[in-house]
C-alpha cells in the first residue's frame, strides 16, 4: 500500500501524537485485560497495514520475551501475600506471577505498537518532525544512519580483498586474529574518514552553513489530520482522567485484587481502544472508496 492512503496519509505530527499516546497508556494502564485488549488492537492495526507480515517477522523474539518475563519475575520477586508454592525455599507468590504477566503484556503491546511505528513513521516523516526543532541535528541523525550500511558494505569488500593477503579474522591464533581485526577496522576507518572529507567539501560547496536551513520534506496538515487529532485528544483525555481517578489499574501488591472490571475500568478500556483504533477509520474509508470506485474493473 502506498503513502497517502489510509493511515499512511496522516500528518507526521498526528502520528507522533498517536504513538506518544499509545506508549503512555501502554505504560500507565496496568491491567492485564486492558493491556491484552490494547495488544489485540495494535495487532489489528498491523494487520491492516501490511497483513501482519512485519509483525510476524518480529513475533518470535517478542513472544520469547513475553514468556521469559512471565517466568522470571516470580523467581526474582517474592513480594505479595499469596504464596502458591515453594521452590526449595523460594516462595512463588501469586502477586508476582500476575505482576510479571501484566508487565509482559504491557511490553508485548508496546513492541507491537513499535512494529507499526516502523511501517508508518518513515524516515522522511521522522525528519520532517525533527527538522523543525533542529535542522542540523536532523541532518546529523540521517547521515549517521546512512553511515552504518555504508561501513558494513565497505568492511565486506575490504575483508574479501584482504583474504588474499592472509589478513582475516578467520585464520591464525586468537591474538593474530585480534590484530588482523584491528588492522581491518583501522584501514576501514582511515578510508572512510578520507571519504568523509570529500563529503564535507561537497556539503560546503552546496552552501552548507551559510545561514539558516530550511527543510524540504513537506506534509500538509489537512482536515483529515485535524479530525484525527481532535479525536485522539478526546479519547486520551477521557482515558487519562479515568486513570487519574484510579481506574484502569490493577492493584497487585501487597494483595491481588479481583480481575473484574469496574465501570471506570471499562470506560478506560473503551477510551484506550478507541484511541488505538480510531485512525483505522481512514484506512476503512479509503478502502471502501477504492472498492466502490474500482468495482468490476
Amino acid at each position: 500500500m502506498s503513502e497517502g492512503f489510509g493511515l499512511r496519509s496522516l500528518h507526521p505530527s498526528v502520528l507522533l501524537l498517536y504513538y506518544a499516546g499509545g506508549i503512555t497508556f501502554g505504560m500507565l494502564l496496568f491491567h492485564p485485560v486492558l493491556l491484552l485488549s490494547g495488544w489485540a488492537a495494535c495487532l489489528i492495526v498491523n494487520g491492516h497495514l501490511d497483513g501482519g507480515r512485519e509483525w510476524r517477522s518480529w513475533s518470535l523474539p517478542m513472544l520469547g520475551a513475553f514468556v521469559a518475563l512471565i517466568l522470571v519475575n516470580p523467581l526474582i520477586s517474592h513480594r505479595g501475600r499469596t504464596v502458591l508454592y515453594y521452590m526449595g525455599d523460594i516462595p512463588i507468590t501469586l502477586e508476582s506471577v500476575v505482576y510479571g504477566a501484566t508487565m509482559a503484556s504491557s511490553l508485548l503491546g508496546l513492541l507491537t505498537l513499535f512494529v507499526s511505528y516502523r511501517i508508518l513513521m518513515t524516515e522522511h516523516k521522522f525528519l520532517f518532525l525533527f527538522a523543525r526543532f533542529s535542522p542540523k541535528a536532523a541532518l546529523l541523525a540521517m547521515m549517521a544512519a546512512g553511515m552504518v550500511p555504508r561501513l558494513r558494505r565497505r568492511l565486506k569488500e575490504l575483508m574479501l580483498v584482504q583474504k588474499t593477503r592472509g589478513i582475516a579474522v578467520s585464520e591464525g591464533t586468537v591474538t593474530q586474529r585480534a590484530r588482523n581485526g584491528a588492522r581491518l577496522v583501522g584501514a576501514l576507518l582511515s578510508w572512510s574518514l578520507e571519504d568523509a572529507l570529500q563529503t564535507a567539501d561537497s556539503m560546503q560547496a552546496r552552501g552548507y552553513g551559510t545561514g539558516t536551513r530550511s527543510s524540504y520534506p513537506a506534509f500538509r496538515f489537512g482536515p483529515r489530520d485535524a479530525w484525527t487529532a481532535g479525536g485522539l485528544f478526546a479519547a486520551a483525555g477521557i482515558a487519562f482522567t479515568l486513570w487519574a481517578n484510579g481506574h484502569g489499574y490493577l492493584t497487585i501488591y501487597p494483595r491481588l485484587e479481583s480481575f473484574s472490571l469496574s465501570k471506570g475500568d471499562v470506560g478506560a478500556l473503551a477510551a484506550y481502544l478507541v484511541f488505538l483504533l480510531m485512525p483505522l477509520g481512514w484506512e476503512w474509508r479509503d478502502r471502501t472508496t477504492w472498492r466502490s470506485l474500482n468495482f468490476g474493473k
Partner: protein
Amino acid sequence: MAIVELRQVTFRYPDAEEPALSGVTASILEGDFVVLAGPSGSGKSTLLRLLKREVSPGGTLSGTILLERRKIESWPAREAASAVGLVMQHPENQLVVDTVEHELAFGMENFGLERSAMRRRMAEMAGFFGLEPLLARRSDELSGGQKQTVNLASVLMLQPRLLLLDEPLAQLDPLAARELLGMLKRLNDEWGITVVMSEHRIDDLLPIADRVIRLERGSAVFDGTPRAYAAEAWRRQDPAWIESLPAVTRWALEEAGRATSIRTAQEKPAWMGTLSGEARRFMDAERRNDGGPTEEPEEPEEPEEPEEPEEPEEPEEPEEPEEPEEPEEPEEPEEPEPMPSFLPLSVKEARAHPAIRDAAAHAAPAAKPPASEAKPLLQANGLFFAYDKNSPAVLRGLEWTVRQGDRIALFGGNGSGKSTLLQLLAGLREPQRGEVRLEGVKLSRLPTQARFSRIGYLAQNPLLHFVHDTLREDLLHAASRVGSPSPADEVGRMADRLGLSGLLGLHPHDLSGGERQLGALALALLGRPQLLLLDEPTKGVDALAKKRLAGHLEEVHRAGVTLVMATHDVEFASRYANRCSLLFQGEIVADGEPEAFFRGNLFYTTPLHRLLHHAHDPKPAEEGAVQR
C-alpha cells in the same frame, strides 16, 4: 563578457617547495565550455578549487581572481556558494543524504529556500535530467553514472552561473561518462552555463569543447581552441601531449606524417594532393561552422603553407585582455614538423573526408601475434553464481579457459559480473555450481596461501589492498608472508622495478591513483603469481600513468605471468591485449584475437576501428550485416 579572470595567479601549499600554480593568467568567457588538461599534479584541481571559495585549499595566494568582475574574496558567502557549482571526482562521496529527492533538495535547504520554491526547482530539474523515476530511491542503490548525474543535478539546483567539474568522469565507465558528457554539452548549449572541466582523458572532450587550457607544473602552457590544441600537440611531438589527443586525430596526424615522409622520399602521390587541398577546404568550412564568434573576422584565408595553419587562431581572441604567454615561442624550431592541414576530432569528421578513407585503406593496422595455443592454465567449468537465492544469477554456466601466456581483456557492461567472475577465478568466492581449476587442480583443493600467491588479484579499488601505515610496511608484510629470506631486499628490488622507491615511506592514502595501482601490483607480484587478475586497472588513472602501468604489465607478462584484466577501456585493451572476451548474461559470448574481436563489434571497439572498419569494408551489404 568574461565570467572568470585570472591575473598572475600563483598559489603555494603551506609546506610545498614548488608553487602549485605559478603566474596563471587566463580569462574564461561566459558560456564557454573550457577543458582543463594536463597530467595529474599539474594544478588542475588547485585551480578549480581556487575558483570555488568554499573548498579553496589553505596556502599563500598571490594575484587576482575575478568572478564576474568582482574579486572572489569580496563575494558574500551565500551568493558565492550559489554562483559557482562544483562536481568532484568520486560519485559516492559527494552524496550527503539518503534518498535522491532529498539529495537534490540538500543545497536548497542550505539556502533556506521556501518549500514551494524548492518543489518547483525540483520538478524542473528532475524533468531535465530524467531523474523522476529515481526520486524515491536510496542514493546508495544507484549506479556510478546515476550517482554522478544526481550530483550534477543537485549542484545545478542552486542555479550556478559557472559550473566547475573536477575530473567528473574518472570513476565512470565509458558509457556513463559519455552520457554525462552529453548532459553537460546540453547544459552548455541550452542554458548557456559556463563549464570548466578538468579531465585527464580529454579525447572525448575535444570535439565538444570551445577551449582547452593546458596546465603543466602549475603554469598554463596552452590556451586556445581544441583544433589549435591538436595542432600544437603535434608540433611539439611530446608524448604527454599526443597521448591526450583522440585516437582518430592521432591516427590522422600519424598518417599525414607518414604521407609527408613518402612525399619527401619519392614524388608526391596523387591522393596526397587531394588530401591537402580538400582537407584545407573542409577545415575552413568546419571553422566557420563551429569556431565561435571570436574567429569570424579574420576568416578570409590567404593561400598559405599548410605548415602553420593554426597560428592565426591565437591572436583572434580579441576579448582576451592579456594574451596567455606561450612558452613555446623561444623554442620554435626552424624547420617545423610537417603540420597536417586536416585535423579530425571525431570519427564522423574523419570519415567525411574521402582522402582519409583512402589513407585508411593504405594503413592496415599492425597485426598482433596470434593468441597462443598453449596449455590451459585456468579453467572455469559451468560456473554458476548468485549473490543470494532471491537475486538473479550473475554467472550462468560460464565456460572459459585462460591459457598460459594469455593477455586477456574481459569486456562487459556495468553489472555484467566481470568483477564477480574475477573474484571467483581468484578463489575469493565459491561458485554455487561448477568449478575453477588451476592447472587441472580444483581451486578449493589448493591450500589458501598457495592459491592466493599463485593467482594475484587486484581489486577495482587499489586502496583495498593496503592496511598498514606506509607502503613499505605493506610490502614487507606481503614479502614475509610468502617466505622471502630477506623481505627488505625483495621489497627494495620490487620498488625499484616499479618505480616506487621514492614513495615507500608514504601512507597509501597519500599516493595518486596510478601509484596506488602500482603499489597494489607490487603487493601481488611479491607473491610471484603465475596469473594476475586485474579489475579495471586503468580506472581513474591518467594517460601517462596508464602508459607506465602498461609498460610494467608488459614486462610482467614477458616474465611469464598470464594476465586477465576486466576493463571498460577499449583503447587500452586494443593496445595491450592479445585476446578479448565479452561477458554477457553470465556467459562468455565472444572470445578471440583483438583484431577480429574489434572488427566484429561496433560498440566494444575503438574509434579507430569504427573508422577503419568502414574503410576496409566498403561493401554496403557486408557493413549492413555487421551493423545490425
